[in-house]
Symmetry: C2
Subunit: 265 residues, 2 copies
Amino acid sequence: MSNKPTIQKMPQALRQRIRTGAHSSPTTGFAADYVQANLMILPQSLAAEFLLFCQRNPKPCPLIAVSEPGQYLLDEVGLDLDIRTDVPRYRVWQHGQITAEVTDITDYWRADLVSFLIGCSFSFEQALLAEGLRLRQIDEGVNVPMYKTNIATHPTKRLHGPMVVSMRPFIAADAIRAIQITSRFPSVHGAPVHIGDPSQIGIADLGQPDYGDAVTVHDNEIPVFWACGVTPQSIIEAAQPEFCITHAPGHMLVTDILNSSLAVF
Amino acid sequence: MSNKPTIQKMPQALRQRIRTGAHSSPTTGFAADYVQANLMILPQSLAAEFLLFCQRNPKPCPLIAVSEPGQYLLDEVGLDLDIRTDVPRYRVWQHGQITAEVTDITDYWRADLVSFLIGCSFSFEQALLAEGLRLRQIDEGVNVPMYKTNIATHPTKRLHGPMVVSMRPFIAADAIRAIQITSRFPSVHGAPVHIGDPSQIGIADLGQPDYGDAVTVHDNEIPVFWACGVTPQSIIEAAQPEFCITHAPGHMLVTDILNSSLAVF
């Protein structure tokens, strides 16, 4: 019998700690067997169009769940899950600008808000680690580097902009294995969108990511690029809706869905 | 109704033409929906060890079927298939040297000979083409380029040597797709063994293949390398058994097995 606390391996207990304010830090590594989601909360007036945008851009915006307008209890993805309190840190946006960063959005809640839960690379990273691959950003203790690309998303009337990608370097054999493993997880970005030469997708310098931190890329390694769930935040920045709420980077919504249940084969 | 002959789309009819000498040329593109196999016929004295070699090296030597000693009718892979007559061109080897190239090995047949049918990249190429990818060697009308590498096979007592790979260049998105598609076909070499820098696997110059022909590789393309069924011939050259028979390159054994039946998902 161990006396170490194991509570945070379970998503329900972790959400309870988040709700009470006992956990307000990033969720990386917590409840690691369970799906963590990017969050986008939009007024109903833009929700239908954002849903269409996600349908047209499944690689950067793979939908895990979409709420009804005003619905804040999301039992279908987590027992007793309350979207207003169960994310460690939220960003409140007005007209494309961050106007508040909070740990509870109960005071901001509106009856017309629709929540979009978008798959996150933590799920496929868990699968990569489980198969023995190493992730450089974890080894170097930093956030994964993310880059705006010259890959256009498929636009809707008001939503358009470049795809954001995350990058992980691997030797060739591991790059092949990573492509195989992540192909099994289409609902959390799936297979990479690019491998090799960064300039082919409009990245001038791997050492200068647009989000996250730079990591070491050795001469014998191939950079592998996945569509990134930061893409919708970048799109929303450009679209400047009057109001929306997202999670703060790294502070994800932890669901009760097992990562392994997302594997399609 | 077309009057064009369609007979060669069916493996039974193609084998009949081969057996009668009406077809003694390469089989590429014929009966393209069906598995074509590399052939290695060895005396029983070396067969058990070669079987072990294949077990230890499934990527270059994926076994489709292995006969009993002396068995020349292989009904399990093709209706009325006779291994002595149904390959368009054979190579007879003595002590590691080719001593004859013939279209019928009935006169060479021995009661101790064991036939190994080894998967061939034609099967996965068919899957790549079916999904819309282009193959450079087909577009350029040449044989696929093959190279000896510095990747050692897993040896047995008498059988050892470098892995031979085939190379197909793709832009990054198609390389990712090709990795996905060929991963579905482990019994015909499966996923690539390398992508990118040829020097990492001991290939000094893509323009100088050890077998087959060089193809154009554009600046924006990634060379993708698959384990190749020529590997066992290279191993046998080194092991110099007193006697063996192989197919001549490109002149494959055409089976009744559908390529599509080899997909594992």
